[in-house]
């Protein structure tokens, strides 16, 4: 008897979910927005927070005025080193220019982002024991660019210096293989806990995915139910001999499908456009998203029960979503926040979804590694559902 009841309840829920999705897919405009939202979100966040590797092929004008010293020219060594470093990073593209005015004009027209000028007495000065001068011409409106060019030049000179020193010690009888260790005994390397490069985007993509799915369900559910209540169609369902819970379950399923669709879109964009790699199990990623929705949905239902109309429902949701977005460590690491915000962050389910998702996607964690987050989310979900079900039942027969 109970099993029969559960079966019809599920089948009614599926009916309602299917009906909702059918309505969604008939709404062209809504569908377009549904797809555009994650695309905007991703491209915006992706380009606003550029990782170092995203700076590439910056056009730089190069003026070589060096007259050389006899038939010896240090500037050509300089350019060679610059080119060989650039081959690895691909950060800049070098264009030749004749003089300073030429470079300035190129910056103004946008043909170059900055310039490097090797002075005419570069080689002769160095050979005669003075300093060689290299001038950097920068675009004042873009301080980031000047810093980048300086960093590149720093590398070039360091490498040139090392090479020169290596030649010198080799002259003293040290063999070529150990000469580097003699000149530069210390070598600093950065390494993350996983192989490959780790950009800001890798940190942020799982969070955005979690957030979009949650937001979709959280705003979608109250809006959908209060909209049906306003239009009157909810009465049509309520007057039928169905379990009251099928309505909420069906609506949740539909919203979940919507959210997962957006989440998948984000994942695809992150992988194809921004080179994010999923290190963990992809099924675990989706399971986490579903668990996230479960932990949230109760809260959405409670708010739905209290909201009188659609407008109120949406406003309630937005009010809750905003702090949640910023406090759950989706955009900024929780550790950077003041202590009181950190404590708020600890009671937001989104924090744990984003955390667990990050661990799985970036660190390739498996279930045992995220048991803490999983259990917190399950407890959260169970408690919220236990509150939500009676509240909703009451609200439906006011």
């Amino acid at each position: 008897m109970i099993r029969m009841g559960a079966k019809t309840m599920i089948s009614h829920s599926l009916r309602i979910a299917w009906k909702d999705l059918m309505e969604l897919f008939r709404n062209r405009m809504g569908l377009v927005l549904l797809i555009l939202m994650p695309i905007f979100m991703m491209t915006m966040v992706g380009f606003i927070y550029p990782s170092e590797t995203s700076l590439n092929s910056v056009p730089i004008a190069l003026v070589n005025e060096d007259a050389g010293f006899g038939n010896y020219s240090l500037s050509s060594t300089f350019i060679m080193t610059l080119n060989s470093i650039n081959e690895n990073t691909g950060m800049i593209t070098i264009t030749d220019a004749s003089n300073l005015d030429d470079v300035r004009e190129m910056i103004q027209t946008g043909d170059a982002e900055g310039g490097i000028i090797i002075s005419s007495d570069f080689t002769s000065n160095i050979m005669s024991g003075k300093q060689g001068t290299v001038t950097i011409v920068t675009d004042e409106s873009n301080p980031q660019m000047s810093a980048m060019i300086q960093a590149v030049l720093g590398q070039v000179f360091e490498q040139m210096g090392t090479m020169l020193a290596q030649q010198n010690v080799q002259g003293l009888g040290v063999d070529a293989n150990t000469s580097l260790a003699v000149v530069k005994p210390y070598n600093v390397q950065t390494k993350g806990s996983i192989e490959g490069e780790f950009s800001y985007f890798d940190f942020i993509a799982p969070g955005i995915m979690a957030m979009t799915v949650m937001m979709s369900v959280m705003t979608g559910l109250p809006a959908a139910i209060s909209q049906e209540r306003e239009v009157g169609t909810l009465d049509g369902m309520m007057v039928a001999p169905i379990n009251r819970l099928s309505v909420i379950l069906g609506k949740t399923l539909a919203q979940m499908a919507r959210g997962i669709l957006q989440g998948t879109l984000i994942l695809v964009l992150a992988v194809t456009l921004f080179g994010v790699t999923v290190h963990g199990n992809i099924l675990l990623v989706f399971a986490l998203l579903l668990l996230g929705v479960f932990s949230f949905v109760g809260l959405g239902v409670v708010l739905t029960s209290f909201a009188k109309d659609q407008e109120t429902a949406v406003m309630m949701m937005t009010t809750i979503m905003f702090p949640m977005m910023f406090l759950s460590g989706v955009f900024f690491p929780v550790e950077q926040m003041p202590w009181f915000m950190q404590s708020i962050s600890k009671v937001l389910p989104l924090t744990y979804v984003a955390d667990a998702l990050r661990k799985v996607m970036v660190l390739g964690a498996d279930i045992p590694a995220i048991t803490t987050e999983l259990s917190i989310l399950i407890v959260f979900g169970v408690v919220m559902t236990a509150i939500a079900v009676p509240v909703f039942k009451r609200a439906m027969t006011r």
């Binding site: 019809t8 009614h12 009916r15 009906k19 059918m22 309505e23 008939r26 709404n27 239009v231 009157g232 169609t233 009465d235 049509g236 369902m237 309520m238 007057v239 039928a240 001999p241 169905i242 027969t397 006011r398």
Partner: protein, 355 residues
């Protein structure tokens, strides 16, 4: 005490007309919203295959009664049963028996007529083949067969209302609730919907409860009418008997056409002892309820004394409109535009009004 006698008497009269068993039983049903009493201890019975009308102005509590009986709202006090099932304790049994045509259209604009009906039909666990057949039959019944695959959003108001009605018939309900079924329809659609309601009642023996604020509708459709005002049933009887309340005895209903009508004239007529109520229908027309043999003369005299130029005098047969006016002392309108103050209201009201 008084109220119970009244109900008993109307029941007795009802049974003479229809010897069917009681389908809906309402006892002291009450609904309060934050201290405001929308429905105030109402009691009535509806027999099987009867068309029962709840007549009253907007805000009288009609919709709340329907919502309580159709299990959408829980009563604050009192009980009601439909087909023997309690509306609170056995709500799912009740839901199997009833169909609801709500004031708002219960329909999804983005789905087609067929998809809408299929969705709601599935909620009643109707087997697939039966449901398909029933959907086709119902659509044909209201001449919407060829619009089967069109989205409901593209339908005219009349078509939508017909859809709204057949949606409620999917589960072949024993009891059908209709909340203002002809609200906002043009005269032609109104007639169509009314005919359809009668047809369902006749052919399927469906018990129907409908609410309306339109007197003609109640008059044409309903076997019995309960007049609702301020959440209470003030009178409950057949249309004919209700009208007898007004025309019986020595009541006169006059319609005067006075082109140079002034407030002073109206006041003078209202002041007459024999006049029970005056309502100004427009700039030149007055409708007057009066009692006594001298009524006609006194009214004309009072009007003439105020230099009224009387174009015509009509002695009207009472309509349900007059009944409502007679019983509640005001017209069936929203409370807000009830402009003319009614004198001597208490003079005749207490006898008829159930409190």
């Amino acid at each position: 005490m008084n109220s119970k006698e009244k109900i008993a008497s109307t029941q007795a009269e009802g049974e003479e007309l229809l010897e069917n068993k009681v389908m809906i039983e309402v006892k002291n049903l009450t609904k309060k919203f934050n201290g405001f009493t929308a429905v105030d201890h109402i009691s009535f019975d509806v027999k099987e295959s009867e068309i029962f009308g709840l007549l009253g102005p907007n805000g009288a509590g009609k919709t709340t009664i329907i919502r309580m009986l159709s299990t959408l709202t829980r009563p604050t006090e009192g009980t009601a049963s439909i087909g023997g099932y309690d509306i609170v304790k056995q709500d799912n049994k009740v839901r199997q028996l009833i169909g609801l045509v709500s004031e708002k259209m219960i329909m999804y604009d983005r789905l087609t007529a067929e998809e809408n009906l299929r969705f709601f039909g599935k909620l009643y666990n109707i087997p697939k083949n039966t449901l398909n057949q029933r959907i086709d039959e119902l659509l044909e019944l209201v001449q919407l067969g060829k619009w089967k695959d069109s989205k409901v959003g593209t339908f005219s108001t009349g078509m939508r209302q017909r859809m709204n009605v057949i949606r409620a018939l999917l589960n072949m309900p024993k009891v059908l609730f209709l909340d203002e079924p002809t609200l906002g329809l043009d005269p032609q659609s109104t007639v169509e919907v009314r005919e359809f309601i009668k047809k369902i009642n006749r052919e399927n023996q469906t018990t129907i409860i409908l609410t309306t604020h339109m007197m003609t509708e109640a008059d044409r459709l309903c076997d019995r009418i309960g007049i609702i005002d301020h959440g209470k049933i003030s009178t409950l009887d057949t249309s004919t008997n209700l009208k007898k309340l007004v025309s019986g005895g020595d009541t006169t209903v006059l319609k005067l056409e006075i082109p140079n009508l002034t407030k002073k004239m109206v006041a003078a007529i209202q002041a007459l002892d024999c006049v029970k109520s005056v309502s100004q229908e427009n700039a030149a027309h007055l409708k007057i309820h009066a009692t006594g043999n001298e009524a006609f003369d006194s009214i004309i005299d009072a009007a003439r004394a105020n230099k009224a130029k009387i174009n015509s005098v009509e002695n009207l047969q009472p309509t349900l409109e007059d009944v409502f006016l007679y019983i509640t002392g005001r017209e069936v309108r929203d409370k807000a535009d009830n402009k003319i103050a009614m004198p001597n209201r208490r003079h005749f009201r207490p006898k008829q009004r159930i409190r």
